[in-house]
């Protein structure tokens, strides 16, 4: 099954002969130079060695691997979507209207007053949110606030985004029920608190029932409440971050609104804020004039830019089309079925599933088995395994998010895979996978002797 590297098929050295003076050019360049038939085969074969949502269940917790409807690819591919960011606003009214309408849709869905589309990914959205919080405090003469509070079960990006903004991260432990420990939060909050970053439902799939109290505590301390939108698929039409007291939130359109994950990206991470924070939004923002035109403008106290241009525009087009197709009913049903699927699957899985009740995902415990080995063995059953060993609150965690797209029958099959592995011995697990394109891959050698390009190979 091994498909050779392009460089193993051909390496062509070309002496650079250019209209430029020699001292401004390189001598040569060496790259594979294959004709189209061989290239088509190369990438077709490689694609067949890759598991995607269209291959089968992909219950990777926290990643919301939904089906990506293909019509959104078509609308993103129309010529009119392909314009240059330096075009005058007058000449791209279509693009500006779509931006405006998507800002509006997201505002309604999140219960926020204003939304920027610029952040190119969820983590970039978090960072934009941190910048907004900082600008807000600075503007209020509270520039001394230098701490961001983050629960221990939060996504790694929360910590990293706060740190990127120059904040000290104050990590608080979760309570026994897997939710925010109110006492720990109380202890962590103070005059230096800039914000609390929270996911709700959290990474265990649990709703933070005390969200109103939390909101009051954070606001009383003078901090802002930030919503990590990674798990928004659990709440559509049932609750809105804005209504829970969040001041800033990001949306992961590649999760909640089914834009493709593309092997790791691109996503898009729009950020919504309450009215108080709108004047700080990134530059440019889009508004509608009284005459019904759309125009870009720089918010009065804008934090500036978080992306060189306008973010991952074509991804945003796909998200708009998805939201517009589903509408209220579809979005609400998506959450309903996502939550039902997670709960149903949790019932069928024989591994211990502590805590609950769950929304869109649950975290099972592999118990005496190594969760990473469980995952490898699940590959042999033809499904993608859950996220493993995280959050650490659950021993040997198997963080499972089936999303709304799986049928009951698929969930039953998936449960069978879990349960089959649950009954297997450690040796079987350690030798897995055996039925995949590649057998178990040696991670240690990869890291100890990094070979990161074909130049590094013999």
């Amino acid at each position: 099954n091994y498909e050779p590297l392009l460089s193993e098929k051909d390496q062509t050295s070309v002496d650079v002969d250019s209209p430029l003076p020699d001292d401004l050019t390189r001598d040569d360049v060496t790259l594979p130079s294959l004709e189209e038939p061989e290239l088509a085969r190369h990438y077709v074969r490689l694609s067949q060695q890759n598991y995607g949502v269209d291959s089968g269940p992909y219950p990777l917790g926290s990643c919301t691997m939904k089906y990506n409807p293909r019509f959104t690819e078509d609308v993103a591919a129309v010529d009119d979507a392909s314009v240059h960011p330096d075009r005058s606003g007058d000449s791209v009214q279509g693009t500006l209207q779509l931006q405006y309408d998507l800002q509006d849709y997201l505002g309604r869905i999140g219960g926020m007053d204003a939304v920027t589309l610029q952040p190119p990914a969820g983590a970039a959205g978090e960072f934009a949110g941190i910048l907004l919080a900082e600008a807000y405090h600075e503007a209020n003469g509270e520039g001394h606030r230098d701490e961001v509070v983050v629960p221990d079960a939060a996504h790694g990006t929360n910590f990293a985004s706060a740190a990127l903004g120059g904040y000290d991260v104050v990590e608080i432990p979760s309570g026994d029920d897997g939710r925010v420990d109110i006492d720990a939060l109380e202890a962590a909050l103070g005059e230096n608190t800039a914000a609390l970053m929270l996911t709700n439902p959290n990474t265990l799939g649990l709703f933070e029932r005390n969200i109103e109290q939390i909101s009051e505590m954070v606001h009383d301390a003078g901090g802002l409440l930030y919503y990590d939108g990674a798990n928004l698929n659990a709440l559509l039409g049932r609750a809105r971050p804005g209504d829970m007291g969040f001041d800033i939130m990001h949306f992961n359109v590649h999760k909640t609104f089914a834009t493709p994950h593309g092997g790791g990206g691109p996503g898009a991470g729009p950020v919504g804020v309450t009215e108080d924070l709108a004047e700080f939004l990134p530059d440019p923002h889009v508004r509608k004039t009284e005459s019904g035109q759309y125009e870009r403008y720089t918010p009065e106290r804008s934090v500036g830019k978080v992306h060189g241009f306008e973010g991952n525009w074509l991804v945003l087009v796909k998200a708009f089309a998805y939201i517009d197709r589903l509408g209220d009913d579809g979005l609400s049903d998506a959450s309903a079925k996502a939550v039902l699927n997670a709960n149903y699957l949790a019932e069928q899985v024989e591994y211990d599933v502590p805590l609950g009740p769950f929304h869109h995902e649950f975290v099972a415990s592999a118990g005496d088995q190594d969760a990473a080995d469980v995952a490898k063995r699940m590959l042999d059953y033809g499904v993608h395994p859950p996220t493993t060993k995280w959050p650490e609150l659950v021993d040997e965690a198997l963080m499972t998010e089936p999303t709304e797209v799986e049928t009951k029958s698929n969930l039953d099959d998936l449960a069978d895979a879990f349960n089959a592995v649950a009954g297997e011995d450690d040796e079987t697990l350690a030798n897995a996978p055996t039925r995949t394109t590649a057998r178990l891959i040696d991670q240690t050698t990869a890291a100890r002797n990094p070979r990161l390009s074909w130049h590094d190979l013999d």
Partner: protein, 440 residues
């Protein structure tokens, strides 16, 4: 229609599942206090696929159909059809980060090949899988410089031709690390070496330059910039792109420690600035690299296999001590760029790059013949684009050209910037004719 067309449960299935879970209705599963329950509506009507397509296209159709001669960091080359057809394959586009390499060898190998392309073009030892775009890649370079520099320091120097927006991103990303971004002067579209020498000191952690520059000029003394950075123990970061690097001086040969840029010049149409951030650096900085890296290894059968590696640098493991907060990146854009590069091959890349030298040279010469226009404004070699001096106010020229069906950039009172590639070359005759109409 009611419900999501992508949530496949029949009523009977829903009932069976509710039974199994032990509740009467899905709503019971939502563990949300009444006080924060949302009982309103978004006010978005559900639509058929046909109607949703029509609604999105109806909006976009309001864009004017202009021949774009815009560049300044976002470029378009003809994208071979193969790129679309292969990158749209389900297995690629519907997958995510390769946390389970045993079933994602395909994408990993593509990313490994993409890294290899950049290693070849930059001459540096390491390239990552992608950053968001050039601006964020430059910001990450500054942060890397701050981390790896032997002594403290907080100044980053960027040339004055860099877009304001890119500088804003750089400032935003580095403020938390107490870095100050300063612009240094240029001379006729190239780094002003004397001026740079004047402002450089041992407090500088990174010196940035571009080749080609944002204004389309080709730098002629990059090695001197590299030396100057080196003299102050600062890193030299070069901005470029994979097409340009295939003929211009190899970054490693001019002393670049880090190369950033936008590789979406390959594989993507004009896309309102959607990018593919290049990040390559010397091997000595490997453990400080931001973003994902794919490495070669072997599987249990001893067969070559690929995997994400050195993940302890990353946020999902290292949290606030990660080298970057990036998680979701531009992998699929990297796939497209890799396919485009492979379609061109070595010869094709060099040929394309050479045309990017010839096209602006020729167009500038033709515009220079137009009364009221002097082009190029810089006495330099150019790549893809150039500044033209206009006797009439540049904003008026740009507006008049827009009325004629052309988009150009008015960069100051009397300069417009013109970008010409294989994608808009067919419209150059018409552009010159339009200039004849509006320029004098």
């Amino acid at each position: 229609m009611s419900g999501s067309p992508y949530a496949p449960h029949t009523e009977a299935e829903t009932d069976a599942m509710l039974d199994a879970v032990g509740v009467d209705s899905v709503e019971e599963l939502f563990d949300i206090p009444d006080s924060v329950r949302f009982d309103g509506e978004f006010g978005i009507d559900a639509k058929s696929e046909q109607a949703a397509v029509a609604e999105t296209e109806r909006r976009l159709a309001k864009n004017d159909d202009l021949a774009e001669f815009l560049g300044r960091g976002h470029y378009e080359h003809y994208v071979p059809s193969l790129v679309d057809h292969l990158s749209q394959r389900s297995e690629f586009i519907t997958s995510y980060t390769q946390y389970q390499p045993e079933v994602t060898q395909g994408f990993l190998q593509v990313l490994f090949e993409y890294q290899s392309l950049l290693v070849e073009l930059t001459g540096l030892g390491v390239a990552n899988c992608s950053m968001y775009d050039e601006a964020t890649a430059l910001a990450e370079a500054a942060l890397l410089a701050k981390r790896v520099r032997a002594t403290s320091g907080d100044r980053v120097l960027v040339p004055d031709y860099v877009r304001d927006g890119h500088v804003s991103v750089l400032e935003n990303y580095t403020a938390g690390a107490d870095v100050t971004v300063e612009r240094y002067p240029t001379d006729d579209g190239n780094v002003d070496l004397d001026a740079l020498a004047d402002v450089a000191d041992d407090d500088v952690v990174l010196v940035y330059a571009e080749n080609p520059t944002t204004v389309g000029t080709i730098e002629e003394s990059l090695d001197a910039v590299g030396d100057l950075a080196d003299d102050h123990d600062a890193l030299f970061c070069l901005g470029s792109d994979p097409v340009a690097m295939s003929v211009l001086q190899r970054p490693a040969d001019v002393g670049a420690d880090v190369v950033v840029g936008d590789a979406s010049v390959l594989g993507m149409p004009t896309s309102y600035g959607m990018g593919l951030g290049v990040f390559a650096c010397k091997e000595e900085f490997l453990r400080q690299v931001p973003g994902r890296l794919v490495g070669a290894s072997e599987d249990a059968d001893g067969t070559r296999a690929y995997t994400l590696t050195l993940q302890t640098r990353e946020q999902h493991i290292r949290k606030e001590r990660a080298t970057s907060n990036i998680c979701t990146n531009q992998a699929w854009v990297a796939l497209r760029a890799a396919i485009h590069a492979a379609s061109l091959g070595a010869d094709g890349l060099v040929d394309l790059a050479n045309r990017m030298v010839e096209l602006p040279r020729d167009l500038a010469a033709r515009l220079d013949d137009v009364r009221g226009v002097q082009a190029p404004a810089n006495d330099r070699h150019h790549f893809r684009e150039f500044l033209a001096h206009t006797d009439q106010p540049a904003p008026a020229i740009a507006a008049d050209l827009e009325a004629e069906g052309f988009a150009v950039n008015a960069v100051d009172d009397h300069h417009v910037q013109i970008c010409v590639t294989d994608a808009n070359e067919h419209a150059t005759d018409a552009l010159v004719a339009a200039f004849e109409e509006v320029a004098n």
